[in-house]
Every structure is written in structure tokens, then in C-alpha cells.
């Protein structure tokens, strides 16, 4: 199966700091590709390039085989790449419906009297949330009253509804409890089955192994290669993330990709 988005040899420099030193990554339809790495490994920088927030210093981004340079997050969204950020997913003071449609509000009427079609917006929001397993008290319920896992789910539902082909989840489980995490992981599974490619960023190996089809580990701005499901275990991933003493050993097992 060909990749929806392929990142080839991406580098990113911030002044004297080399955040990424040649990282390759690809995401296919209907898979969950986990991007693992410790804090400061460059995960966030990498996905910000993928979602159009940063421009890469070097390397290529291919969307369905075509080299593409995103000028803004909006470009990436148009190309079908949606990102759900860990803490920036939702605005707590705004209602679920207003959050859901933020930036893409449906309108009705004629200019200059175009209005935000709240009726339609509310209806679709409630339906989509129910599909994801969240029963809202009402579409005007403030996001602040939702739990962390539910907020992630609203953001995921939003991305899916707006036709995401690739869904990037930035540490969606890092601040969640056990049950909340289970909900988010089952949401990932549900989304994957719809044929969407999920990029799941985490530093929790167990969460990654629970849903991941492939695993890529970042360490100090470099990738240690991509492994298929079943070829690695938790201990191996953990060691790669830590970049510890067993690096030499792992280098052999991964086929010398470093």
C-alpha cells in the first residue's frame, strides 16, 4: 500500500540548535503509526512540520506522491492532514458546537448578512459526538465541563468529520487516567478502521503497543528506524527511546538504519 504522506530526510534547525537531523517517516491508509520518543527527542517539531506549522530546513514532504510545501496549517488541513494537540485541542470557555466548527463555520444567508448556521452546526455536532460515543447534555455545553479524554474525542471527531486522511495525535493520552486512555485508544482504533491513517505520538510504550501497526522511534533528532508490529517488544522500544547502552545491539537488530 502506498503512503498518504511521506516525509523524506527531514531536517530542522532553530538557529544553532539542530532539532531534527534527517528523519524519514510515512503514513499509510488505515494504519496507526506510532511516533515514539523521549521529551526533547524532536517529536513535536516533526509533527509541526507535518501539519504545516513549521517549514522544514531540508528534506521533502510528499502528499500522495507529490512533493508539497505547506505554507500554513491551513494548507496541511486542505491536504487532509489534521492535528489534535495535547493541550491546545479545545477552547474550554466555548461550547462544544462552537469548538467543533471553529475555523470552518457553516454559513447561510447572503453577504453581508451571512450568519453562522448554528442550527445545522449543533445538529451535526451532536450526531458526530454520538458516533464517537459521547452523549452531550447539549451542543451548547462548554468544553470546559468535558473530561480530558472527551476533549480529545471531540477534536478527533472534528478532524474525522472534516475529511482528514491523516490524523496526527500529539500525546493524546499523556495527561489521562486509565479509563480515559482506554477510551482514546478505542477511538483511535475506530478511526483507523474508517481508513484514516493515524499518527500517534507518545512516550508511553504500552499505549503505543496497544494500538500501533508500525513504530518509529526518535532520539535526539534522529530516527532509529521503523519497526512493524510483532517485531519489537516494549523493552526494545523503551531502550531505543532512551538511546541507552544497548544502542549498538539494537542497531544490529534494526538492520543498521542509524
Amino acid at each position: 500500500m502506498s503512503a498518504i504522506v511521506e516525509m523524506r530526510n527531514i531536517t530542522k534547525h532553530f538557529g544553532h540548535v539542530i532539532a531534527l537531523a534527517g528523519v524519514s517517516f510515512d503514513i499509510r491508509q488505515g494504519e496507526c503509526h506510532c511516533l515514539l520518543g523521549d521529551n526533547g527527542a524532536g517529536k513535536s517539531t516533526f509533527i509541526k512540520i507535518m501539519s504545516g506549522v513549521y517549514k522544514p530546513s531540508g528534506g521533502e514532504v510528499l502528499v500522495e506522491g507529490v512533493p508539497t510545501l505547506f505554507q500554513s496549517p491551513r494548507d496541511a488541513m486542505t491536504a487532509g492532514i489534521a492535528t489534535v494537540y495535547q493541550d491546545l485541542a479545545m477552547i474550554p470557555l466555548m461550547s462544544v458546537s462552537r469548538n467543533f466548527w471553529m475555523g470552518r463555520e457553516p454559513e447561510r444567508g447572503v453577504w453581508p448578512f451571512k450568519t453562522f448556521d448554528t442550527g445545522k452546526a449543533d445538529e451535526i455536532t451532536v450526531t458526530e459526538m454520538r458516533k464517537m460515543g459521547i452523549n452531550l447534555r447539549g451542543p451548547d455545553q462548554a468544553v470546559g465541563t468535558l473530561s480530558g479524554g472527551e476533549r480529545q474525542t471531540v477534536a478527533i471527531a472534528r478532524a474525522v468529520y472534516f475529511g482528514a486522511k491523516v490524523l496526527i495525535l500529539d500525546e493524546p493520552t499523556s495527561a489521562l487516567g486509565v479509563r480515559q486512555t482506554a477510551n482514546v485508544l478505542s477511538t483511535i482504533d475506530r478511526v483507523r478502521k474508517q481508513g484514516i491513517g493515524v499518527v500517534f505520538i507518545t512516550h508511553n510504550v504500552r499505549h503505543a503497543l496497544a494500538v500501533g501497526d508500525r513504530f518509529t522511534v526518535l532520539n535526539r533528532g534522529q530516527t532509529l528506524g521503523t519497526a512493524e508490529r510483532g517485531t519489537v517488544d516494549a523493552a526494545a522500544l523503551q531502550d531505543m527511546m532512551a538511546g541507552g547502552q544497548e544502542l549498538a545491539l539494537l542497531e544490529a537488530s534494526l538492520g543498521g538504519t542509524i
Binding site: 506549522v53 496549517p73 479545545m90 474550554p92 466555548m94 453562522f116 460515543g133 452523549n135
Partner: protein
Amino acid sequence: MTDVIPDALKDERIKPVSPLRRALIRPELGGICGTILVFLLFAVVAGDSGMFAAEGVMNWTVVSAQFMVIAVGACLLMIAGEFDLSTGSMIGFSGVMIAILSVHIGVPLWLAIVMTFVFCILLGGVNGWLVIRTGLPSFIVTLAFLYILRGLTIWSSIYFTRQTIIGGVAEKAATDWLAPLFGGKILGGLFTWMGEMGWIATFTRGNRAGQPVIDGIPMLVVWAIVLVVFGHWLLTRTKFGNWIFAAGGDALAARYVGVPVNRVKILMFMFSAFCACVFATCQVMEFGSAAADRGLLKEFEAIICVVIGGALLTGGYGSVIGAALGAVIFGVVQQGLFFANAESSLFRVFLGVILLTAVIMNTYIRRIITGER
């Protein structure tokens, strides 16, 4: 559906919400309660002072409308997450600019008004642009403009006319086509008719004997109503309104989903400047003169109206209707104390108490919205 929903996702822990609590999280609630309270208070202490006769009503309506005009701009800007402390100086500046251009340079009054509006809205844009570009708090950037504009106003007034009050605008306004839009009055016929019917008082002596004590609704009041309706519609019924909430609620989150946050914020700075200009132009037309010290402290009064109206100082939450009610409270209290023959300095005490109460209540309301943490 139910077969795919894990138990954990069922909201078994969400309590039903009482209607009272639901009403409480409407931003206007504080404003509504405050307005009722203030009216009741003055009905008791100043009920027989003429405060609620036609003339008295017009008196506090005009004062409230003044606050309303600038409060609408401040409200939308605050919801978008920024402040404009240069509003008061902008009022002084635009008034003096109109007067200098029309009286001392000889530009036709309508052109002077248009030029002033364009220039001041651009200045508002500069305010916004600086805030966005530098990433500094708007508090500091607009504080700088508070001083810059006030200084320029006084300097230019003295440079061109050797005085700080510039008269002669009234003569120009008499023959101008645009001036009545700011200085005129409407519905004069209605009030004459109401006077004839004996519903409102009429003059009994002098050369206006028989005419009603009110000869129409000042355009300032019309502007206030139009701006409030427009602001409320924009905020709650349009896509752009959603962007205003989003920009103030969390600029980064909004930016990541494609909301043009910078454009929204700069436009709101420009709108705030526009409101200041409306205020100034109406005032210049009413007095027939401009003065370099006009608009002093107006920026804070606008912010107070907005906060009393339930908006959060941190942005992302608020209501134009609330801000308008805040302006009514402000106007009624200020004029009411005058009617009640209270010591005028007490006004500030009263204002401080209202402000503090409103802010404390808003903090509580925010805790309810964001799930009481």
C-alpha cells in the same frame, strides 16, 4: 450504537443542571441583575427628583449611550483577548483633528470627519499590528499610545490655534451634509406630538414656550443602539463572531485550526478606534467645539462597563448586550447620584464597589463554565 460505546463513555457522573445555574452562566446575567438593582435603588432615593421624568430620562440615556458607544468596541476587543487603553486619548485626538482640519485648515467638515475616521482607524490598526508583531501585551502597547496621542493632541491644538479648546465647528456643521449624522436629532415630530398630547413636559416660558422639553433623540443614542445591535449580531450570529471568541479563548488553538487570529485582533483594534471616533465626533458636533482634554479616563470607563457586563478580562467570554447594560448601570449611577443630590465623589466609591463585585462574580462564573476546578 450502544454496542460500540464502552461503559466508561456514558456520562453517569454528569449531574443534571438546574435552570438557575444555567441562567447564571449567561454572561449578561450580572448586567441584568445590576440594571434592575440600580433602577430600584434610584427609584427609591431619587424617584421624586425628576430623574424619571422625560428630561431626566434623556439625561441619563445620553450619558449611558456615551459609555455604550465605547463599551461595544472595548467589549469585542476584550473578548478577542486584548485591551485598548488608548481609547480616551483617541477621543481627544480625533475631536481635535476634526476641528483643526475644518476650522483652521479649511477642509470641508464632511471631509474632515471622513479623514479623521480613516486616520484613527489606521491608528487602531497600527496598535493591533504592533501588539501582534511584537507579542507584547496590548496593555503596554496601547498605554504608550495613550500618552503619544494625548501629547500629540495637546501639542497640535496649541501649535495650530494657541489654545486647547477649538471652537467654530458649530458654524461649519450648520451647512454640512454629514454633520447631522453625528450631531443631529431624530424623531423630533414624535416628541412635539407627545408634548401636545401632554405626555411629556413642555416649556412654559421663553421663546420655546409650548415646545416639548425634549426635541428629539440625539444621534449619539442612535449610534449606541446601532453599534450594540451590530456588535451583538456579529459576535453571536456570525462566523467572525466565533473567531472573536476563539482568538480570545486560546489564540494558539484557534490558529492551529485555521482561524486568522491576527486579522481578527487587528480588526477589533480598528473597530475600537472607530467607536472612539464616533464618540468624539458626536461630542464635537454637540458642543460645537473640540478640546484637547476630552475623553480623559474613558478607556477605563469602557473597560469597567464591559467587565460589569460579564466579560472576562482574560478574553474569550463576554457579551455585547452585557456591556451595554454595564454602560446603562454606569450612566444611571453617575447621573442618579447627581439627581439624588449625593456628594459626587461618592460616585467613584460606588463604581469601585460595583466593579469589584462584578469581577468576583465573573471569576465564580468562569469556574462553573470550566467545570469547577
